[in-house]
Amino acid sequence: MKSTATAILAAISLALMLGGCAGPSASPTTNTAALQQKVLAAEVAYEAPLALAVAYNKRPRCTVPPTIVLCSEPVVVEQLRKANHAVMTAFGAAMNVASTPGVSESAVVAAIAVATDAIGPLQTILSAYK
């Protein structure tokens, strides 16, 4: 139990440490490919909420008094942008963790969890608008 918690903490620390690294992705090897492929699958799934956020942003901005039925609130757009940047940073970190030779699956699972947890606020924001 303690070792699992330690592995998760180490993964999160590593993910945060590497999160700012935005260089080209490390080439997959036979040791890292399986886990990198899982992170890639999670990134592809993230396209779904991100596509909705982009569609919302493309609406004309809401004005006072309201003149357009389908508009986007500037405050909501800002929240979506902040949430997306947090998710993108977390996915970058997760891919870096998965690219580390010898990394455990639990460390990658924890790093993916950091990214999917970061999607939470974005989901909340998206579900609030029609």
């Binding site: 490919a33 890639l40 999670a42 909420p49 986007s72 998206l126």
Partner: protein, 75 residues
């Protein structure tokens, strides 16, 4: 152990809104599930294909982020 269920649920959760907005998520869902279920790449060709897919996805998400970060034109 990584599970496919949260991934599938995540995409399904957006389907009603996507349909309303006219966005088709079936391709996204199909690609995510296929990747998740695919066997780990083992040959040099498969590893190179994975590297290309990782880089392509990174570029796609970066382009979508740029779209999100750009204000719509005012009329």
């Amino acid at each position: 152990m990584l599970s496919l269920l949260p991934l599938a649920m995540e995409i399904l959760a957006y389907m009603p809104q996507a349909i309303k907005l006219g966005i088709d998520l079936t391709d996204t869902a199909g690609r995510a599930v296929a990747l998740f279920n695919a066997p780990a790449p083992a040959t040099q060709d498969e590893l190179a294909a994975l590297k290309s897919a990782i880089d392509a996805e990174k570029a796609k998400l970066a382009a979508m982020t740029a779209e999100l970060d750009q204000d719509p034109p005012t009329s």
